[in-house]
């Protein structure tokens, strides 16, 4: 309501700005003229002459010139200077006043209602700080913690509080950053490492990447019974195509889990999944089906996750020639020829002692178009 009142007063002021000058008939209005300018110029010549800045002959010549201008100006000023001083027709002013009274408010109203948002209240930053806690949106609270951390980036507790919120909001990249900071600032514990691994996996669309796997391994090294790390170790095994390993890890986990633990269903479901398709060798049919339902970008990430894990596994145990060939092919599919060549070199080094494997590897590489 206040807004409309203010807008009304502003309109009234604008109308007044048009009507007021129209009402000033008869008032004498200041008006300069060129004659005044030339008179001043003549006076200037006299001053310059008196100060000795110009000679008498020059002054005379200048006087002649300016006088000519003065005469010319006086000749036209009959039309010019009084040009706007003729008796005024009343209808001129009536039309102008009508325009101010009707057209201006109407035009302003139409234009403003088209462009403006009169029903939207302002939201100054300070005002929004006073909103009761329960009414604040989660984003606003996150932003507040973020701005706090911006000023105090060494506050590990803050990062740890923020991380699960990021996870819930689906901001996995930010969650990874927060978890890393928590590990760095508060020290590595099995639980924090497992949380970091979880965030990494979530950021990779649920794929347990080599980096995530490393985090879980660190967690398990510190605490063999860490539930989260065990679950993801199983998941990593499943995604690697080692369904039996996955099933074994999860069974152990179920045996030690309390009867009322909330995560039992998740593990039972996972177990059922690997048990039904246990016969399927590496990359599980599920994975492939899952890969097909993904968007191209997600699929690329999915493939990359698998490739990373395969490469990590071959680095520690490089005896499987078939696995090496899979890795080289994967790099070629991803368009990374350089990586593929380097993997082929690594493969030859790894299987160097076994003639049978070397032959298989070379055949395979030749088929892939990489000459030995």
């Amino acid at each position: 309501m206040t807004l409309w009142l203010v807008l009304f007063l502003m309109t009234a002021a604008a109308i007044f700005a048009v009507l007021w000058p129209l009402s000033r008939h008869g008032a004498v209005r200041r008006s300069g003229s060129d004659i005044a300018v030339y008179r001043d110029q003549l006076a200037e010549i006299e001053r310059d002459l008196a100060a000795g800045l110009i000679g008498a002959a020059e002054a005379e010549a200048a006087r002649v010139e300016v006088s000519r201008r003065l005469l010319a100006a006086a000749g036209t000023s009959g039309v010019h200077a009084q040009g706007v001083d003729r008796p005024r027709a009343l209808w001129h002013r009536r039309v102008a006043a009508l325009a101010a009274l009707v057209l201006m408010p109407a035009g302003a109203a139409v234009l403003y209602l088209m462009l403006g948002s009169p029903f939207l209240a302002g939201a100054p930053f300070a005002g929004r700080q006073d909103v009761p806690f329960e009414q604040r949106s989660i984003e606003s609270m996150v932003a507040q913690v973020e701005s706090h951390l911006e000023k105090n980036p060494q506050d590990g507790r803050g990062w740890e509080v923020l991380a699960p919120v990021y996870m819930r909001l689906g901001r996995f990249e930010d969650a990874v950053k927060a978890r890393r900071n928590a590990v760095r600032l508060l020290g590595a514990t099995p639980a924090r490492e497992a949380d970091l691994g979880e965030a990494l996996a979530a950021a990779a669309n649920g794929i347990v990447t080599a980096e995530a796997k490393a985090a879980f391994d660190r967690a398990l090294a510190g605490d063999r019974d860490n539930v989260k790390a065990q679950y993801f170790a199983g998941l990593a095994a499943e995604q690697d195509g080692r369904a039996a390993d996955a099933a074994r890890i999860w069974r152990t986990l179920l045996q030690t889990a309390p009867v009322n633990a909330g995560y039992r269903t998740l593990i039972e479901d996972s177990l059922a999944r690997v048990d039904s398709g246990a016969a399927a060798p590496n990359p599980g049919a599920d994975d492939i089906a899952a890969a097909e339902s993904l968007s191209p970008k997600q699929r690329a990430e999915f493939v990359r996750g698998m490739v990373e894990r395969l490469a990590a596994r071959l680095k520690s145990d490089g005896s499987d020639a078939e696995a090496w060939l899979r890795l080289v092919r994967a790099y070629l599919v991803l368009g990374e020829a350089e990586q593929a060549r380097s993997a082929a070199r690594d493969a030859r080094n790894a299987v160097a002692g076994d003639a049978e494997k070397i032959k298989r590897l070379d055949d395979g590489l030749r088929r892939l178009g990489i000459e030995g």
Binding site: M10, A17, R29, V37, R69, V84, H92, M104, S140
Partner: protein, 659 residues
């Protein structure tokens, strides 16, 4: 609510501008005193409403009201208060609002201080001014509205471009716009004169203060922009012949020409048609500059947003105003009476020489700036016209102009004595030769052009002093007489001398910076010392610091000369997380007019860092000269006296018409 008040105020300003565009001109046509008299109150009211609108937007920025889209995009609640003010115009929409505000401001100034103008001319000027305001108010409201709202309001803003988070943003755009937009008054005067079909020496008298004021602001605006680029971009350069810089330089060149031709017109009533054309061209170049910078044709720090709709809109404004004014000119100019005659060797002749070179230089820069754009638009070929082109074309044009400059003020009106002027400049010339020779002797092996250019600069400066000395007849008359004459000189004479002198000052700065700058680029470890131009600079290591909305890593360098500590330099690199980009903060140490300039590259993990270290001798003279030029303009502006060119009569008693 504040944002909506501002929005509505802008709408009202538009409607007031419409009325101001119609009633005063109708009043002049119908010879109706009352209608013609509506111009001034309307111009003042229009200014009040635009100012209210601008104040509302500022309030939204200061209170971080992110329900305003513009504020959300260009501000951050943690930004220091100064930048909350300046970020109002640190973006496309807000800067256009500032443009409109300044336009309305000049309109209000004409209304308030135009009392010496004939009522009809004043009404026409305000009417023309209103049409410019209408087009830009429409542009702001329809394509670049800063009052667009967001619901719900985001919690935090996206921050201002870090390069703009600097005191430079507080000064450079307002001054530049005061210059750009100030020329709209000269334009309005020219169009009003063409509509009336009547123009004489008095017109030049009336338009003089407005042109001068705009020129002063533009000079300061360009200098500020140049200094800002020098210390903020971290390259140590002060002028890049970048299209955006050229866009501001073009109206300056033609504005300078206008300033000089208007003198001829005021004093001798000659060059009338040419002066009108220059007034139109100068503002047209301001519009072209606005178009280039605001349409997104160019990408630079100035191109806040690229939106084709805006480009087309400004292009339309451009075509309507420039095309319309030039058509009016073609139609009406032949009707104007020609004024005084003069010989080629005369003050007028010298000013024509000045105009000739300035406009050709302006055309050269114009072609160099627009040709690549036109070529890209027509054929898709990208070419780059850079410093080599401008150095090869602009400098040969500037040199004769500078050489001729001291002669101009010494020549008499109507017919001058070149030999006499040369005689009076002998002393200046001798000093110039001496200084040039000294420079050549002191800097062995340097560029041959440097001593020559320094000599030229000294000639310009000494020539400007000669002008004052000659007018006061300092060494010819007894001291008391000479002193009386000196005091009696009009302030505009001092203004002219100061501005001409300042050009020499700037030239010295440019030459020294170009030819004698020392540069070291290297990776420096903590504890290392670098020697440059007699200074030893030792690196103490890097320090990390947390700013209000950024993190900064800065290096600490101690500067010594002959073992004595003369100062400390802390170049930094700032990272702004809200936008995820960073800026380099160069550190400057001023010694006299020279500066040591250090900009920090990326720090390495081992604590060492890449650094660019320059010693720039006399570099501050570049901007000091610009300040003095503006000072000269101000002196001239403060001179309330009128200018009369007393023509020197021919030796024979009868006045001969001379060509």
């Amino acid at each position: 609510m504040i944002a909506e008040i501002g929005h509505y105020a802008l709408v009202l300003a538009l409607l007031l501008a419409f009325i101001q565009g119609v009633l005063p001109i109708a009043g002049v046509r119908l010879r109706d005193n009352a209608l013609a008299g509506t111009g001034e109150p309307l111009a003042i009211a229009q200014f009040c409403f635009v100012a209210l609108s601008f104040a509302a937007l500022t309030a939204c920025y200061v209170t971080s009201d992110f329900s305003v889209f513009n504020v959300f995009q260009n501000s951050h609640s943690a930004m220091p208060l100064l930048y909350k003010f300046t970020s109002v115009w640190g973006n496309h929409e807000g800067s256009m609002l500032l443009w409109v505000l300044i336009l309305a401001f000049f309109g209000a100034l004409v209304a308030l201080f135009g009392g010496n103008l004939p009522a009809a001319l004043r009404a026409s000027v305000l009417g023309v001014q209103a049409w410019i305001a209408i087009s830009f108010l429409l542009f702001v409201l329809l394509t670049s509205n800063p009052f667009v709202r967001l619901a719900p309001a985001p919690f935090e803003g996206r921050d201002l471009n870090p390069l703009l988070q600097d005191i430079g943003l507080a000064l450079h755009p307002p001054f530049l716009y005061l210059g750009y937009v100030g020329f709209s008054i000269a334009f309005a005067f020219a169009v009003a004169a063409l509509i009336e079909g009547r123009i004489d020496a008095a017109w030049a008298r009336w338009v003089r203060p407005w042109t001068l004021a705009a020129w002063i602001f533009l000079t300061l605006g360009i200098a500020l922009g140049s200094y800002w680029a020098y210390y903020e971009l971290g390259w140590g350069g002060w002028w890049f012949w970048d299209p955006v810089e050229n866009a501001s330089f073009l109206p300056w060149l033609s504005g300078t020409a206008l300033l000089h031709s208007a003198v001829v017109m005021e004093k001798r009533e000659a060059l009338k048609v040419w002066t009108i054309l220059l007034a139109i061209l100068t503002f047209s170049l301001s519009l072209v500059g606005t178009f280039l910078v605001r349409s997104g044709v160019l990408t630079s720090v100035h191109a806040f947003a690229t939106d084709p709709a805006r480009g087309v809109f400004i292009l339309t404004i451009l075509i309507v105003f420039i095309g319309g004014a030039l058509a009016l000119y073609a139609w009406r100019a032949p009707l104007l009476r020609q004024g005084g005659v003069f010989a080629p060797i005369s003050r007028e002749g010298a000013l024509v020489f000045n105009n000739l070179f300035l406009t050709v230089a302006c055309a050269t820069v114009f072609i160099g700036t627009l040709y690549p754009l036109a070529l890209e638009a027509l054929t898709g070929d990208k070419i780059s016209v850079g410093a080599p082109f401008f150095n090869a074309t602009f400098i040969p044009l500037a040199l004769p102009l500078l050489f001729a400059m001291p002669f101009g003020p010494l020549l008499a009106w109507k017919r001058g004595d070149l030999y006499g002027a040369a005689q009076r400049l002998i002393a200046a010339f001798a000093i110039a030769i001496l200084v040039g020779a000294a420079t050549a002797a002191l800097t062995k092996g340097g560029a041959i052009l440097a001593p020559f250019a320094i000599g030229l600069a000294v000639f310009v400066m000494a020539g400007a002093l000669t002008d004052v000395v000659e007018r006061a007849q300092l060494f010819r008359q007894p001291w008391p007489v000479a002193w009386r004459r000196l005091v009696g000189l009009p302030r505009s004479a001092f203004g002219t001398a100061l501005a001409h002198f300042a050009l020499g000052v700037t030239l010295i700065g440019i030459v020294c910076e170009s030819y004698f700058t020392a540069e070291r680029i290297s990776t420096i470890r903590p504890g290392d010392t670098v020697a440059i131009s007699g200074y030893e600079i030792s690196f103490d290591g890097l320090v990390a610091r947390q700013g209000p909305n950024y993190r900064e890593v800065s290096g600490k360098l101690i500067v010594r000369r002959n073992g004595d500590v003369v100062g400390m330099l802390t170049p930094g690199k700032r990272t702004f997380p809200a936008r995820g980009n960073s800026t380099s903060e160069a550190a400057l140490l001023t010694r006299g007019f020279s500066q040591i300039y250090v900009s920090l590259g990326d720090p390495n993990p081992d604590g060492s860092a890449a650094m660019r270290i320059y010693h720039k001798p006399m570099v501050l003279l570049i901007w000091l000269g610009a300040l003095l030029m503006a000072g000269g303009g101000l002196l001239s502006l403060s001179d309330r006296r009128l200018r009369v060119g007393a023509p020197k009569p021919a030796k024979k008693t009868a006045l001969q018409p001379a060509q």
